[in-house]
């Protein structure tokens, strides 16, 4: 059963600005990962969920979930992944009243908002730049 984290990963892949690949075909290489940093020397994006705030409940038993998302961009690009982080922010920031995934509309996303600008964490051991950005997610389960 898919989670909201997978919704976000797929939503990033569906962007027209070529943010990354979450569900690679036989000829593509995956670049968007969930929860685990891959052991590759190339550029990649990792999405980490974290606690956020406690949920709220409505009278008809819907729960408003408010997790948070930490996006780590590790990049061999000259700017260290800054533009990639900005592209991700443009894709996610202020997403509102949107059902994801687009195929099954399992969750209704009330709002996704960035919690700040991409933060540079310096270079990793292989010289790749690292940027991290955090987002507040608000959604209701539709199933």
């Amino acid at each position: 059963m898919a989670t909201w984290l997978e919704d976000i990963a797929q939503y990033l892949e569906d962007s027209t600005t070529s943010i990354g690949i979450y569900s690679p075909t036989t000829t593509e290489t995956r670049t968007i990962y969930l929860n685990n940093m891959p052991s590759t020397a190339d550029s990649f994006i990792v999405l980490y969920p974290y606690a956020g705030m406690a949920p709220d409940w409505s009278h008809d038993n819907d729960s408003f979930r408010r997790p948070r998302l930490n996006v780590l961009v590790v990049s061999t690009a000259a700017d260290g992944g800054h533009q990639k982080s900005i592209d991700i922010r443009k894709r996610l920031d202020h997403v509102h009243e949107t059902a994801l995934p687009s195929s099954t509309a399992a969750r209704h996303y009330l709002l996704i908002e960035g919690l700040g600008e991409p933060e540079y964490l310096g270079k990793d051991a292989t010289g790749r730049g690292q940027f991290v950005t955090n987002y507040q997610i608000k959604y209701i389960s539709m199933t």
């Binding site: 980490y48 974290y50 606690a51 956020g52 705030m53 406690a54 780590l72 964490l121």
Partner: protein, 181 residues
């Protein structure tokens, strides 16, 4: 200047409560300020419990452990606005806070400041009002241990300190005497 990281908490859906709180802050500014600081201190204490601790580095150079750099303070204090902060201040604070890939010994973890702040955000205003009430009733000192326990621990430390000094030539101990014996 070493890097530092501060977390801000944004409260939503509390327009009416904030309006009432503004009235209280206007009429009781000193008490509200103290209650805000005490409440922020609660976040700091929880945060320090979750802050990663480098057991492999005794910091013999005198530099502080990350946990020990936690600080609470007032950021802004005007007629319209009281802003408090919790901050950590080591060059590696932001890495420990933002990189969720690192392994940490339970209960320490990444997001050691943001998560406690988020936990408190939900009940921040009612908790603050209770603390203002506590300040008005002069219950402002938070006792973490009974007086007898505090005296016992202090005496034990003092005894150990003077035992370490016994028989040593103290003439060469400078201003750091007592820390690096």
């Amino acid at each position: 200047m070493t890097a530092s990281k501060a977390i801000s908490v944004k409260l939503e859906g509390t327009a009416t409560a904030r309006a009432n709180l503004r009235v209280i802050a206007e009429k009781l500014p000193r008490q509200t300020r103290q209650a805000m600081v005490e409440q922020t201190d609660d976040v700091r204490i929880e945060s320090q419990e979750e802050c990663p601790y480098d057991y492999n580095n005794p910091h013999n150079d005198g530099s502080p452990h990350l946990r020990d750099t936690a600080k609470t303070g007032i950021d802004e204090d005007t007629d319209e606005y009281i802003s408090t902060y919790v901050s950590y201040d080591t060059p590696y604070a932001v890495y420990q806070h933002e990189i969720l890939e690192y392994n940490h010994l339970f209960p320490t973890k990444a997001k050691f400041l943001e998560d406690p702040a988020n936990r408190h955000a939900r009940t921040w205003i009612p908790d603050l009002l209770r603390k203002v009430q506590g300040v008005l009733e002069n219950q402002t000192f938070i006792k973490l241990s009974a007086d007898t326990e505090i005296a016992r621990d202090y005496n034990a430390w003092q005894g150990a300190h003077y035992s370490a000094l016994a028989g040593k030539d103290t003439s060469l101990i400078g201003h750091l005497g007592g820390r690096f014996i």
